[in-house]
């Protein structure tokens, strides 16, 4: 049903690629992150939320939308999109055809996230799962407790608290978590704000944001910024600051110190090890394909311990260095 191609995963019966790496004729997208949604393809199919987030980047490409749960016949298969819990609009792609039911997870997580719909387990014959954090080292604590830790750090820091995170997805998730426990505004880098607007338009309640712009100082304030802003002249506007990073990779304690962050918050939008195993069991899939990160470890574990037929799929990629 799904095969590897130079452009990425391809569904011959439907005539479309999934999150293609190179321009193709027809692309089905799981979510709006840059490593999954690339410009240049002829036609796109994704959720309306993903489309709203992508509009700017994909220019005047033809984007068709499909609501979560809605079914559409494409070629000789039926395609539907279902929540993946990764970020606003993120979807698993369910494909039903003569080879049975296949589900491509895209990026996903099982922890509650106030900024998007929760992951929906789907029964299927074959499951293509991500494996970004597929080692038993990785297990996420309850996110609400982490949000409290972030707020405590910010409120106990007389200098500026600069929290680095992905500008799309992670930043809005943190803004939504913060909105639940604090009514103070949060300052954001120029890359965060436009996406926050889209989240709000889709009914997600975020903390009040203020654009950093030409503002200077900001003592005692919390600032969300993409990691690419670190060490650039942009940082000079804050006279004294502490730097924190929010990422799953910080589960390993040496990472924070090695990279010189004052604080590290273990927050990930990917499935942890127990989340991956639980999800695979819930799909009931007889065959599992693993992509990204530590996929080889997951494949071997599924084969040897869980007795599931498993194989790697897609291009081998190192684990995301920024640990989304």
């Amino acid at each position: 049903m799904i095969v590897d191609s130079e452009q990425g995963l391809f569904c011959p019966d439907g005539g479309f690629h999934l999150d293609p790496l190179l321009p193709v004729e027809r692309a089905v997208l799981t979510h709006a992150h840059g490593d999954h949604a690339r410009a240049g393809s002829g036609a796109y199919l994704c959720t309306p939320e993903t489309a709203a987030l992508l509009r700017r980047r994909l220019g005047d490409a033809s984007i068709e939308t499909l609501r979560q749960g809605e079914r559409r016949v494409v070629g000789s298969v039926t395609v539907s999109l279902h929540p993946a819990g990764h970020m606003l609009g993120s979807a698993q792609v369910r494909i039903e055809g003569r080879a049975g039911v296949w589900v491509v997870s895209g990026d996903y997580k099982r922890e509650p996230d106030p900024s998007c719909a929760p992951f929906e387990p789907l029964r299927c014959d074959a499951f293509v799962t991500e494996a970004s954090y597929a080692l038993p080292l990785f297990r996420w604590d309850e996110p609400a407790a982490l949000a409290r830790e972030i707020v405590a750090w910010w409120q106990g820091n007389p200098a500026t608290s600069v929290l680095f995170c992905y500008a799309l997805g992670k930043a809005q998730r943190l803004l939504a978590e913060i909105a639940r426990i604090s009514d103070r505004p949060v300052w954001v880098h120029g890359m965060v704000e436009p996406f926050a607007q889209v989240y709000r338009e889709h009914g997600v309640r975020l903390a009040e944001t203020r654009h950093v712009g030409d503002e200077r100082g900001l003592k005692g304030e919390l600032v969300l910024a993409p990691i690419t802003a670190r060490g650039t002249p942009w940082m000079k506007r804050f006279r004294s600051f502490e730097q924190a990073f929010a990422s799953g990779i910080l589960r390993i304690r040496g990472t924070r110190r090695r990279r010189g962050f004052d604080r590290g918050f273990v927050v990930s939008d990917h499935a942890d090890w127990p989340g991956l195993l639980r999800t695979i069991r819930e799909t009931g899939a007889q065959r599992v394909y693993a992509m990204h990160g530590h996929r080889d470890a997951l494949v071997r574990y599924l084969r040897e311990v869980e007795g599931i037929d498993a194989a790697p799929i897609g291009r081998a990629q190192p684990a995301d260095p920024e640990g989304d």
């Binding site: 038993p136 080292l137 990785f138 090695r258 942890d272 530590h294 071997r300």
Partner: protein, 534 residues
């Protein structure tokens, strides 16, 4: 244990000195004295002897975490730290929950549960360790594992811990530092004595905290009139104090190790010193009125047994440069000029194995700069500059004592092997081996760990992973492409190295991206430096 784990986290999660001192001070105030004693022991750099081999701990960790061996290895490879790997895998296995039982206090844990394990049979150790893991949370397991393997390190300097304890006790840091010198066993009573307003009794063997010089980074002209400074050669030996008290003699190294027994040939020196005397100086291998290279002394230190031949080949001498106690009176508050005058009188004609570190005579900084150039021929590391009016301080306060070292040796060498480092660099290729040309062949000459920026480390790590030729366990051979300038402090012949040369304190000075591998130095060039050295 829980409180100590919280302290460890607090110290680990801030870079601010004041916050660290405050966290330790709060800990000392709250913790029971028995626990505080052990915490202080670790904070000041103390270690337990290894109780369990890491290989065994890994086996049991793998068993407890219920993961296959290969998955444990894979996880360890990424985390880079055994204690952390076990802590995280066990935490995942039990889904973040730890047994609701009570965590034992730090002192009870160490004294009643850990230390008795030392001679226990393996199976008993295994049961005890797994039982403890089950009672502890993730952070505590990490610390327990570090204790078991004798690798617990806390991210503060001893000076900072002393400052925190002094603030807690309401005593001057120098008093606390002095009480901590010498043989100190963690116990509630010892902790109480450390923070007592008056010293209950002093340990006769105890040396004074060492006054350490700072590296002179500016030109010496910034120090003002040279006449206000005592200038000495910077001896390349073992910094030590001779403590002559209570009828005994004790030789203490700067690392607070008692090394009296290592130097029987200095016993003649001890015997002549009057009761109640403490000298600060340098132990050197000394022959024909001149110091021998440090490598000679080092060979001697490495020996279990001191044969007559070794004593004859590397005879020791004590080069005194300060007098801290005389006639049982503490002289540290007096200016250096007065201490040196008394020292000269004391040392005069006492033993040929005891001499005064003479003042180097030079009128101006320019003349001294010229003299400093002779350092290498004289077998010293440069010059020491000490303010005549300075008291004997402790630690490394800047301002009164400076070391004005000679420029290090430098060579350009090619990176040939790499392997992951330890501790915070465990996930990165930071343990690097460098080679020089010998004929058409690259011969490894030095390993170096430090000197690159974080960005360079990241860049090099990526390059190494993509350009590995072969792997031997954790070691990778890489394409010989990159040239680095290495600096080192000393050089000597060696039969233990394939190159026939051993360099001392090699470090990376910079990444010579402007050089090609064929531009690197030859082994011949390195060897020629040995002649300069001696």
């Amino acid at each position: 244990m829980r409180r100590f784990a919280a302290l460890y986290d607090a110290l680990d999660s801030t870079n601010s000195t004041n916050a660290k001192v405050a966290a330790m001070q709060a800990y000392f105030a709250e913790a029971p004295p028995g626990d505080a004693a052990w915490a202080l022991f670790f904070l000041t750099g103390g270690r337990l002897k290894r109780l369990i081999a890491p290989r065994l701990l890994a086996t049991w960790g793998c068993e407890r975490a219920r993961v296959p061996g290969w998955l444990f290895e894979e996880s360890f490879g990424l985390a880079g730290d055994l204690a952390e790997t076990i802590a995280l895998l066990v935490d995942t296995e039990r889904n973040g929950h730890s047994a609701p039982g009570k965590t034992p206090p730090l002192s009870r844990l160490i004294e009643d549960r850990l230390l008795p394990l030392r001679d226990a049979p393996e199976e008993q150790k295994r049961r005890a360790v797994i039982e403890l893991w089950d009672a502890l949370d993730r952070r505590e397991i990490f610390l327990l594992d570090k204790l078991l393997t004798g690798e617990l390190r806390v991210g503060v300097s001893g000076t900072l811990a002393i400052r925190a304890l002094a603030q807690h006790a309401g005593l001057p840091p120098a008093v606390v530092a002095h009480r901590l010198m010498g043989s100190w066993q963690p116990s509630a009573a010892a902790f109480a004595a450390l923070i007592a307003p008056e010293a209950a009794e002093t340990d006769a063997s105890r040396p004074y905290p060492f006054f350490l010089a700072s590296q002179l980074e500016e030109e010496p002209e910034t120090l003002g009139d040279p006449a206000q400074w005592l200038v000495e050669w910077k001896w390349d030996g073992i910094r030590a104090q001779i403590v002559r008290r209570a009828g005994g003699v004790f030789l203490w190294s700067r690392g607070e190790e008692l090394i009296t027994d290592r130097f029987p040939d200095l016993s003649g020196v001890w015997a002549t010193l009057p009761e109640g005397t403490v000298l600060d100086g340098e132990v050197l291998a000394f022959s024909g009125g001149a110091p021998m290279p440090f490598s000679v002394l080092q060979r001697r230190i490495g020996r279990q047994k001191l044969s007559p031949k070794i004593l004859a080949d590397a005879p020791a001498a004590f080069m005194a440069y300060d007098l801290l106690e005389l006639g049982r009176a503490d002289l540290r508050g007096q200016p250096l000029s007065e201490r040196r005058e008394k020292l000269a009188d004391l040392v005069q004609g006492r033993s040929e194995r005891l001499s005064l570190s003479a003042a180097v005579k030079g009128g101006s900084w320019a003349e001294l700069r010229e003299l400093r150039k002779q350092a290498r021929e004289r077998g010293v590391e440069g010059l020491m500059l000490k303010r005549w009016s300075s008291p004997y301080r402790h630690g490394r306060p800047r301002g009164d004592w400076w070391k004005w070292k000679i420029e290090p040796y430098a060579i350009d060498a090619v990176l040939v092997y790499a392997q992951p480092g330890h501790g915070r660099r465990a996930t990165l290729m930071t343990d690097l081996t460098f080679a020089l040309w010998d004929g058409g062949e690259l011969v490894p000459v030095a390993k170096a760990y430090s000197g690159l920026t974080d960005e360079e480390i990241d860049r090099l790590d990526r390059w190494i992973r993509q350009h590995t030729i072969e792997r031997f366990g954790p070691v990778r051979s890489v394409e010989p492409v990159h040239v680095f300038e290495l600096h080192f402090e000393g050089i000597a012949e060696s039969t233990r190295h394939r190159s026939g040369v051993a360099v001392r304190f090699p470090r990376i000075a910079r990444w010579r991206t402007d050089k090609k591998p064929q531009d690197a130095d030859t082994l011949q060039t390195l060897r020629s430096l040995i002649r300069v050295a001696r």
